[in-house]
Symmetry: C2
Subunit: 249 residues, 2 copies
């Protein structure tokens, strides 16, 4: 298990198998779980790809008790991060979108954000290598395997990454509670854009706000200014998709 990490749960394992872009060393399935459609798909795909799967007793799952493993875990190579420059070079032809995360601390939030991004067709997620939760097995589980379907770009400096994006004609949109414009006032369907979402408490850093082309807010009702970051992202990112899909028609 040297270079492998453990992922757990049916969706995590199934989506890793479907994506097929990571090396799976072994899949371990509990003898005490009765099979269902997803579990059967896992077994079929594993067979097809020549990946070992073992049926084991309850005791083998004891180390993973605190996780909601649903009777299946896999030993898998870590995700491969993508370089920002490579991503930019590969995505020159049509309008693309990126989500940039500035200091997200909570694994559940990162997992939910990844899942939302894949469903909404976001093309990549940028995270900083420090002061942000990294991809771990909780993130993989909460993402329901979505992590395997979107490039994750890890950078040392978000300020530099934003600068690089701007030099390549990407537009930068940051979210901030004190913004004048609402998120739906921006026209998203004719540009490459990166949306910066801030930390749960601190919001987007000043240096990034300063570097942004647009700063937008979600118009909060009931004087209750405390939307969870993944839910805030969902509102914004599906508005960008709405614009793209309705203007295509």
């Amino acid at each position: 298990m040297n270079d492998f990490e453990v992922i757990y749960g049916k969706n995590s394992v199934l989506e890793a198998l479907i994506a097929g872009n990571r090396e799976i060393n072994k899949i371990i399935i509990s003898k005490n779980i009765h099979s269902d459609t997803k579990m059967n798909k896992i077994k079929d795909l594993a067979k097809e790809k020549g990946i070992i799967f073992q049926f084991v007793g309850r005791d083998k799952f004891i180390p993973y008790e605190e996780f909601n493993h649903q009777g299946v875990i896999a030993q898998i190579s870590p995700i491969k991060y993508v370089e920002l420059e490579d991503f930019i070079a590969d995505n020159k032809s049509i309008y693309r979108s990126i989500v940039v995360l500035d200091g997200i601390e909570d694994s559940h939030n990162l997992g939910a954000i990844i899942r939302t991004c894949v469903c909404a067709g976001v093309d990549a997620i940028v995270i900083p290598s420090r002061r942000n939760v990294q991809v771990n097995s909780v993130v993989e589980k909460i993402s329901a395997g979505a992590i395997n379907h979107i490039p994750i770009i890890k950078v040392n400096s978000l300020v530099n990454a934003i600068q690089t994006l701007k030099e390549n004609d990407w537009w930068i949109i940051a979210t901030d509670a004190s913004a004048k414009d609402n998120y739906y006032d921006v026209k998203y369907d004719d540009m490459n854009f990166a949306i910066i979402m801030g930390a749960e408490h601190a919001g987007v850093s000043k240096s990034l706000l300063k570097a942004s082309d647009f700063i937008v807010k979600i118009p909060m009702q009931n004087n209750f200014n405390s939307l969870n970051v993944s839910n805030a992202l969902s509102a914004i990112i599906f508005e960008t998709l709405r614009q793209k899909l309705t203007n295509k028609k």
Copy 2:
């Protein structure tokens, strides 16, 4: 502590104090936590309202170890559910919105949905008294206290509730992955409407789909049809708010 339950975390306690619609028996604060803006507000409001607060040692928090209590818990009366008929009678004059939850199983999802609804100005949430997670202290915590700012209507039968709403000129919108229309194809700004969100796995029940006026989907990208229910709701409910706010102008 007979009729009281325990809520924990700074936001939960603070928002309960601000809302002021539940009886707080006592607030217990850890001696080992250094105070911050929110904690000071909690103490100020408690003093103002004549609510007892006690500083206690670490041992008093041992029963709550598994919770992210942030050094503060409160003994509080349970939330008061609202009757559907009363809500309808009180909301006759302007266009209102309700979110109806059909079989949500996860406390985190219910908490996130409540928080999103308050931020988006939803007027009430309807939950069934069975086959749905009920309001508990995890829900209160995850809602960040939002639970105190929105009526929760608990009904024995969702089918009957939908029927009652329809008889009172409410329009019913259900979400279903196989719908033809997208959620943004509906015009939400000139009617009372209820949006039904289904269980994490099973979706909205057939009987409710049948009773609905509109069935809508979120157009999923990447062939990845697995958006978390609170994120799905966020996309839809903020679209209804966008329509209301932009058509007002």
